[in-house]
Amino acid sequence: MVKLAAKCILAGDPAVGKTALAQIFRSDGAHFQKNYTLTTGVDLVVKTVPVPDTGDSVELFIFDSAGKELFSEMLDKLWESPNVLCLVYDVTNEQSFSNCSKWLEKARAQVPGTSLPGVLVGNKTDLASRRAVDPAQAQAWALGQGLECFETSVKEMENYEAPFRCLATQFLHLYREKVELFQGLV
């Protein structure tokens, strides 16, 4: 049994629902929830996610820029040494989807030469009549980038846990790979 710790960064355009997603994930009646507001005005959501079919879990430290992503020097500090990435767009906003490649590039630049497990989350599926991003298109792009793809409605509290469970599972797999590597060294 192992309990891992992972720094999760939330990326995506302003107003796509990053903070709402993190907050609804936090408040979901779990026992180990903590919430911090850092002195920088950044929100930190900490929650332990059990990985299904294992005794293992991952404590996610979700760093939310809380709307301050516009100040890029602050984002650089906040995004230092990430372990996993949660990339969010708004399914009613085509631009927020196309900007994902820019956000992904910026996130990956934080850990050059190292893999960064990630998920792509299309939020606001409750606004079905205003949908502007085809799920198949998002799926294809995510696949090409090695990201797992999800759609959520934070407003309807739908499917908001799955992306984080997926990140925890990916991070555990990465850990097991590394341990195997360490074992083969001597």
């Binding site: 192992v2 991070f171 850990y175 060294l185």
Partner: protein
């Protein structure tokens, strides 16, 4: 006085704290005299462990075998309790693809009862420490 490896559990040395632990790869693996066994960090940095000699020793050389460690910092204390640690060594390690980092550090003023080893940063999400040995002499066996 005879020089010995002061960092062996068989000599009474203990790891009394580690910030991360996988029960399959516990911190005791660092001082078991076997480089095949190791302690892993389990995500995010810094990570640290504290070694207790249970006696006053004078370290002349520290040898650390690890993997993917980037910045290493070692503090030491000469107190009876694990308090009052002072900065001793700080080193940036080189990434050694596919083989253990083998860092030999010649120590100045190596008087210690405790060592606090801090991995400040790594070359990947996780790092491992396979062994630490400290060459030196026992100054005083504590009662």
């Amino acid at each position: 006085k005879m020089k010995t490896d002061l960092c062996l559990s068989s000599e009474g040395t203990e790891v009394i704290l580690a910030t991360s632990s996988d029960e399959k790869h516990p911190p005791e693996n660092i001082i078991d005299g076997n480089a095949e066994t190791f302690w892993t960090t389990t995500g995010m940095f810094p990570q640290e462990f504290v070694i207790c000699f249970h006696k006053h020793v004078k370290i002349e050389k520290l040898i650390i075998q690890s993997y993917l460690v980037r910045t290493l910092r070692v503090e030491k204390s000469t107190s009876k309790e694990p308090v009052g640690f002072q900065q001793w060594i700080e080193k940036d390690l080189v990434h050694t693809e596919g083989q253990l980092q083998n860092e030999e550090i010649t120590a100045h003023d190596g008087h210690a009862t405790y060592l606090r080893v801090i991995i400040q940063s790594a070359f990947d999400h996780f790092a491992s420490v396979h062994s630490i040995s400290a060459e030196g002499t026992v100054v005083l066996n504590s009662s």
